[in-house]
């Protein structure tokens, strides 16, 4: 006997250490590898320290779950702290599961599974965050599971059948409005535990029928009394409504497995039982070991691991922080890790990078040093770019009305968030509507991490001079130099921006506007458009040396059209490479196979390569 206890204790220590190592690993991965993703999640969620926010939340089934989760989600603003909170919660859930279901130490791996499923439920999100209400989503499976298992824990302490039945009914009626489906999950587990421990078959059946009826009726009652959702919505309260993106089934799977697993725990004989604790040392290590491997593998499969997505998140965070160099660094990182020509940047990356180049004033020097492309996002292009980066790009390109519009659309689709509030404030202030801005500033003042930012905006809204010099406005105002146009973007932001900037030749514009217009004109690959915009650019921008990309374009379009380009000043290096390129083209007449590889190797950083070989890119 003592030998067995020793063995199980030894394996128990092994799994405790393993759990801690896994927890540490998850914290490191979340906080550092996926830190920008956590920040993105936080900008798409909201927690306000107001009674209205509380009452709005708790007026829906499972509202307390959302409220608590949204409270915790705000700490993702500091990814290391947010991730630590999540991991601590996961460890607590494991401990609670272990205690509640009285697992033996060599079966404690079973206690880790709810946390692992909660992790799989949130790390599989991917592009879903642009489609669903994110307030609290990251913590919901964890908080919901903790609530459910806490309920079961208290229930386990009751011995009388009468008390148990009363507890089931009270828990369900009170728990469902607070924790939604997770409360019902606990109820089901309570029913199973009661049935398991009830001696007579009649009482067993009676208690099961009563309890099941409570579970079935409670959402129905809620639905009929509070009348705010569909009946399906009432029965799935507390679960996110996932869009039908690729992998949606995999994303949904953990949400189904969590309640199922809790019920299995209640049903299976995993509890402390001295007679059953005589498993061999072989069993005490091997079976939990296999389960550990399966759990880790399941989480690995569920985790949305896409370098493009991670880079997009990093760039988006940098854009929000006006850290243009950060955007370019993210692109550089991607290029470094994906030197292969086939691993292309995604369209959001290209758009963010072009914006950053324009804001940093280096679009003419560096635009073609980065690759263009249409790297496949793992959402099968069901997500228009406008939903991913519409409000941000429109704002920074000086289209404040459109930024405000898409912020409002995002609010209608996904609910109010820190991110939408920020862009609503900025687009209102830059448009001169301080009254409108005040509404959103007031909201942000109720947050923890944006309070200071909101107070600053309040001052800027009152002081136009200060506003004009502030970083978030100084680079936007010069782009708002042109007259009004009544237009429609049809959700295709890239085309709309290109047209917006390249169809204003006759208007009085600023040097900043002309720089960006020329950048967009180059992307059209139309010589006439290029020449017109180059002339305007040279006229308004006092450049001592024409940037490399424009020299390259001028040489190319000078050769392709009858427009003499020899009045422009070219650097010796550009001229040398141009001559080389012409010779190279004569010797490599094919635009495929090895020739293409050679072109890429030698000229992928030039406008000539972009003109001839980057084609067929579609935007969405």
């Amino acid at each position: 006997m003592s030998r067995h206890i020793y063995k199980s204790t030894k394996s128990g220590w092994f799994f405790q250490i393993l759990t801690l190592i896994l927890a540490l690993a998850i914290w490191l991965i979340l906080a550092f590898r996926y830190g920008n993703w956590l920040i993105r999640l936080e900008t798409k969620s909201l927690f306000l320290y107001t009674t209205e926010f509380l009452t709005n939340n708790i007026s829906t089934a499972g509202g307390m779950l959302t409220y608590i989760s949204a409270f915790l989600t705000q700490f993702l603003h500091l990814p290391a702290l947010g991730a630590a909170l999540w991991v601590s919660g996961a460890l607590f859930l494991s401990y609670l599961t272990f205690k509640t279901f009285r697992l033996t130490s060599n079966r404690q791996i079973f206690a880790v599974i709810p946390s692992a499923l909660a992790l799989a439920a949130v790390t599989g999100l991917g592009y879903q965050i642009f489609l669903i209400d994110c307030s609290g989503w990251f913590f919901e499976p964890l908080v919901g599971s903790i609530a459910a298992i806490s309920g079961i824990n208290i229930f386990q302490r009751l011995s009388s059948l009468k008390f148990r039945l009363a507890a089931i009914i009270i828990w369900t009626l009170a728990g469902f409005p607070l924790f939604g489906l997770y409360a019902l999950t606990a109820t089901m587990a309570m029913i199973l535990l009661t049935a398991k421990h009830t001696p007579t078959p009649f009482k067993r059946i009676l208690s099961a029928v009563l309890s099941c009826a409570t579970v079935a009726i409670t959402p129905f009652l809620w639905y009929n009394i509070f009348t705010t959702e569909t009946i399906t919505g009432a029965y799935t309260a507390g679960l996110p409504y996932l869009a039908n993106l690729p992998r949606a089934t995999l994303c949904r799977l953990p949400y189904f497995l969590i309640p199922l697993y809790i019920m299995v725990l209640a049903l299976l004989p995993l509890q402390k039982n001295n007679n059953n604790d005589g498993s061999s040392s072989h069993q005490s290590i091997v079976i939990p070991g296999i389960i550990t491997v399966i759990t880790v593998a399941f989480n690995y499969i569920c985790w949305f691991n896409d370098p493009l997505y991670r880079t997009e998140c990093k760039m988006a965070t940098a854009v929000d922080n006006l850290d243009w160099q950060g955007v370019l660094d993210a692109e550089n990182d991607f290029e470094t890790h994906n030197p292969d020509r086939t691993a292309e940047p995604s369209r959001p990356m290209v758009l963010y990078r072009n914006l950053a180049l324009a804001k940093a004033g280096s679009e003419g020097k560096m635009a073609y040093r980065f690759r263009d492309g249409q790297g496949e996002q793992k959402c099968a292009r069901k997500l228009p770019l406008i939903h991913q980066c519409g409000k941000e790009l429109y704002y920074h390109y000086g289209l404040s009305n459109y930024s405000f519009r898409w912020s409002m659309e995002e609010v209608a689709r996904q609910g109010q968030s820190n991110g939408t509030l920020k862009y609503q404030v900025m687009s209102s202030i830059v448009s001169g509507d301080s009254k409108r801005a005040a509404t959103y500033i007031k909201q942000l003042k109720h947050t923890l991490f944006y309070r200071k930012w909101a107070k600053r905006q309040e001052l800027l809204a009152k002081d136009i001079k200060k506003m004009q010099n502030a970083g978030e406005y100084a680079s936007v105002l010069p782009l708002m130099c042109i007259g009004n146009e009544l237009a429609m973007d049809h959700k295709i932001i890239e085309v709309f921006l290109a047209n917006h900037f390249t169809t204003r030749l006759q208007e009085r514009t600023t040097p900043e506007f002309d720089r960006i217009a020329l950048q967009f004109a180059l992307s059209h690959k139309q010589p006439a458009l290029f020449w017109n915009h180059l002339v305007k650019y040279l006229h308004s921008n006092n450049v001592s040396e024409i940037p490399v990309a424009y020299q390259e374009a001028a040489l190319l379009y000078g050769a392709l059209t009858d427009i003499p380009s020899n009045q422009l000043q070219y650097s010796n290096e550009v001229l040398r490479r141009w001559n080389e390129f012409q010779d190279f083209a004569e010797n490599h007449p094919n635009n495929n196979g090895e020739d293409l590889d050679e072109y890429y190797r030698c000229y992928n950083d030039t406008y000539w390569y972009f003109h001839y070989f980057v084609s067929g890119i579609t935007t969405y």
Partner: protein, 492 residues
Amino acid sequence: MRKAALLISLVLVVCCGRIPQNATFSDALPDMAPDYSETVIPANIAPLCFNITGADKYVTIFSNGTYQYIAKGSCVNIPMRKWRKLLEGASVSVCVFTENGGKWTRHKEFKMTVSDQIDRYVSYRLIPPSYQYFGQMSLRQRDLSSFNERLIYSNAMGQDKDKEQCINCHHFRNYKTDNMQFHVRIFNGGTILVRDGEPQKINLKTDSTLSAGVYPAWHPTHNLIAYSVNNTTQRFHTADRDRVEVLDIESDLILYDIDNNEVSIIENDSDQFECFPAWAPDGRTLYYVSTGLAVPDSVDRAEYLYANYDRFHYNLYSKSFDPDTKKWGEPQMVLDAYSINRSITLPRVSPDGRYLVFTMARHGVFHIWHTDADLYMIDLRAGTVRPLREINSNEVESYHSWSSNGKWMVFSSRRGDSNHTRLYLTHLDDDGHFSKPFPIPQEDPEREAEMMMSYNIPEFTVEPVSIPAHKFGRLIRKSHARGVTFRPKSKD
């Protein structure tokens, strides 16, 4: 005797230290929101709660001459029973004391004149002010004599979260709710028509009409509803303060005969854009707005119209109607807005038939998004028109409705934060002048001010909607909507 009693109570109160003594007088009103000073208020309105700011302590004294109530604190919330007692007087005077740094100030006293009763219920749509996506929107009904708000229907009840559903244009017949309607668009669309208390879903679109019914006007005496049918689109301004332009590419007027389940044409001139029907109270005249813009055959209709969006100037027309024979007269222009480069929408005739209030802005048909939109009124008896300066603001004023006794009007305005519409009440006196408007009372005005939703289409009713929201939900979830037949114009 009464005065003596009041004096004694006042002396007692002062002696007990509830009213600050040695206060200095100030000619300024306190810094309060909402501002209810010098308003005319209904005799059955809910307590007019407000917040005062700018001081450390506050005491507010309400008095109607015979009864007094004293409130302390910045959030002035009067208990219902005490408020009812105050409303028994001809007016309620309000005196606010504020304390700053230990010194009390007595602010200029203001008065709220108690006047006619108002219809007890106002229905509206509550929506996030978006353009293309709908989010959670709901039709709600507020009891103006209390703070109770009841859900009529929410679009979250008839759809899953990934499906879009718009609900709009709720409308009641003669201020009663047993005959009412609203539309559901896109997912499981149709018109929900409640007839004698029984809801049904109908599809008003026929092959011979542009669309299903849009803006409704229920005939006051017969089972007929006039609708506009519209092909509506929108585009967005890149730099204008008005962010969006909503235009009808085509629009006509139709008449739905409920008893015969038939739709017929009222007006469908292809060069005219008719919209916003409104019956005169006798049901023998239909008012509507229309503009003419001939589109050359060679051009894209939508492109052409948007290129000329600022040339859309809707005039006000009327058309006589015999409800028994269903015969229409010829259109008569009532007001030429085109000639003054203005555009009229939303004509609404007062229940006594004397006044017609409409919304007017520089151009266009969707004035809720036009900052310069203001309310105007025609005295149909005197034949005069005037802007309602006493109730207009620098922001949008748009949808408006008369109460059943014609003494009150509710209208929507963006004057609060320039983005979210709120509802305001105003009283019409015997000389045809409106009183200073005030927002519909809220138990927590600050919370209301921070709410990120817009109120749309306020409509008075004298009774609550009795149909449970779920009954509408079940009906809407069914994809089937009963079709209607089209009755062509008779040749005579």
